[in-house]
Amino acid sequence: MIRRIIVLSVTLAMAAAAPSFGQREATIKDVPEIPFSAVSNLKLPQGEYLGEAIGVATNSKGHIFVYHRSAQTRLFEFDRAGNFVKEIGSGYYGFEFAHSVRVDKDDNIWTVDEGTNMITKFSPDGKVLMVLGSRPPAVLGAQPFPAGPNQPAKKYIFCRPTDVGWDPEGNIFVSDGYCNNRVVKYDKDGRFLAQAGSEKPGKALGEFNLPHGLQVDDQGNAWVADRGNNRYQILDNDLKPFREITNLGTAWTVCISQGLHRYVFFSNSNPNGNMPGTWDTTGEIYKAELDGTVVGKFGQAGKLAPEFQVVHMIDCRNPNELVVGEIESWRVQKLIFQPPSVKPVTITKGKAQ
């Protein structure tokens, strides 16, 4: 009897320690495996280390940018062969806790930092061109973790923002974030235009529960990884939702490729804090057409390359050469694919709106 009570309390303790956003196995069936090979070839200068490889992105020359949580949050640039080129933003005010890096069509580098609530546009040579959001003032001292409901969302202030993207006109889209639950649209000069969602989490279309990743396609639609709701939402250019995808597990991050034939990649990353068995059901990345037709999947959870230990971000500028950043393995892998020859499979589409 005593033994049984102990077992029960251990179970309760584990349940309490589980991450607040649970992980879900994808419900899509019969998705073909896409074969790939992986290389981890980033050459760091002597004495330098990557921390959690939270953000990865490439520019038009194939250079790789890694925004990572080292002792400080830092942004490194490598060439396409993996040679270290330079560091950007060393000691910069807007860097505290990395969340995303993206490169726009002009090769400007944008960082999203959830420790400063700042999004920064750097020129290709590393100069600050524009900042969005602002950092809470240090002079007020270390603030206690906020209790109670989220504060009302403000036009120009983020709350642990997660990602950034642009439409063809250069309008800026931000997913915001851990303590707001919205997508915000600014014009190219940084002026507020619209938002979907609010500070409050919600389940309806157009509401979010931890919008964790975002990309904008060439039609100007915003694809949002709505992580806490285990779905992707697709919003039109005015942020009206018109589609959701609900059968790909938990929505950690989304990437849309470039080129004539564009693909979209979705990651059902295995969670931080794994239960026995989680590795068997999560950790894969899906490849789909922009109409939602899934063409295949690849990868699995695990510590050893080419396995993934919590994929946080995918760069898919070239859909046959992905760059993937992982949280818990402090690693960036380049995944190389043969041009696809698998037969497409139609997925269950979400509710149309």
């Binding site: 000691g91 910069y92 005010y93 600050v128 900042v131 003032p137 002079v139 007020l140 270390a142």
Partner: protein
């Protein structure tokens, strides 16, 4: 340079007398201006954060006091200690980087302001160490006012003295600015916590203090900036009450200018024909209101205005500092856009 004709001046004066602040703002003539692209060349690996202060010396060298990061809190024996967070950079008149002053200084945490006196000493005001630090032109510490708190509280307690009581001591609580009269007396804007002006003689001896939090004449919602004219009158930017208050050299209230919005940054040109530049700084969470800078006569006449809030050149993100040694060539330091703009007024 835009000049206002006499009749318009009279009209503005009449509106100021009748309190038609909004009309005065809207009727103020627009001053044409340009912003010089890339006015400062930072070496690779060096970045400006929020710019608390920008000031030039008599050679045209430029000093920028900037919040390059948040202070680091380390775990001490029984109390947490805070270090770093702000740096003071020097550039030449062409914007070429010269060097850094006060690197790793005990007194640098949250940049509030930098000013250069008539002898080219560089004065730094820090809002978190609560210190005013005078460096000589060689960058050596010449005089210190105030004292940094030994430790910080984690999590933060309400700021010490932050009730705006106007404590008449020689310690500060979130000071924001410093200025001098022609006798060398020192006036400290103190500031956001204590809401008063502190006066010291040229040797740093504390001699007077006036003001506390409030709305009445001689009271402040916040003491954001300070300037002293050739006659020793003291102009205090009382942004929270959306006014500038003018005092004589001993702190007796003389008048107030109520028509320039959230007066945050203030600069007075050198004599003769002194004018004031005052920023109606936008709040840090909104670029869709305020942001313009006013040019004023010392009688409160608005001579013109320029700019608006925003992120592009010629737009401003919460201006915290104006340097007007050049009279029509201004340097403007911004909190929101992490930059200094060099403005040419036409």
């Amino acid at each position: 340079m835009t000049r206002t004709n006499g009749s318009v001046r009279v009209l503005f004066f009449a509106m100021w007398m009748t309190g038609s602040a909004l009309i005065a703002q809207n009727l103020a003539p627009e001053i044409e201006f340009d912003s010089v692209a890339n006015p400062l060349q930072l070496p690779p690996g060096l970045y400006l954060g929020e710019v608390g202060g920008v000031a030039s010396d008599s050679r045209g060298d430029l000093f920028v006091y900037t919040r390059t990061g948040h202070p680091t809190i380390s775990i001490g024996t029984s109390r947490p200690f805070a270090h770093g967070g702000s740096r003071l950079f020097e550039f030449d008149r062409n914007g070429k980087f010269i060097g850094e002053i006060g690197k790793n200084s005990y007194g640098f945490m949250v940049a509030s302001q930098v000013r250069v006196d008539r002898d080219d000493n560089i004065w730094v005001v820090d809002e978190m160490t609560d210190m005013v630090i005078e460096f000589d032109p060689h960058g050596r510490v010449a005089m210190l006012l105030g004292r940094k708190a030994e430790n910080v509280s984690v999590p933060a307690r309400p700021a010490r003295g932050g009730d705006g009581a106007g404590q008449p001591t020689d310690l500060f609580d979130r000071p924001t600015d410093v200025a001098w009269d022609s006798a060398g007396n020192i006036f400290v804007a103190d500031g956001l916590g204590n809401c008063r002006v502190a006066k010291f003689d040229k040797n740093g001896k504390f001699v007077a203090s006036w003001g506390k939090r409030g709305k009445a004449e001689g009271e402040f919602a916040s003491v954001r900036g300070i300037a002293v004219d050739a006659d020793g009158n003291v102009y205090v930017a009382d942004g929270g009450n959306r006014r500038i208050q003018v005092f004589d050299n001993d702190g007796n209230f003389k008048t107030a200018f109520n028509n320039i919005g959230n007066a945050q940054a203030i600069c007075m040109t050198n004599r003769p024909d002194q004018v004031l530049y005052v920023s109606n700084s936008n709040p840090s969470d909104d670029i869709d209101q305020d942001g313009e800078i006013y040019k004023m006569g010392l009688d409160g006449t608005i001579l013109g205005k320029f700019g608006r809030a925003g992120k592009l050149l010629k737009e401003f993100g919460t201006v915290n500092a104006i340097d007007c040694r050049g009279r029509n060539t201004l340097y403007v330091g911004e909190i929101g856009n992490l930059r200094v703009q060099k403005l040419i007024l036409h």
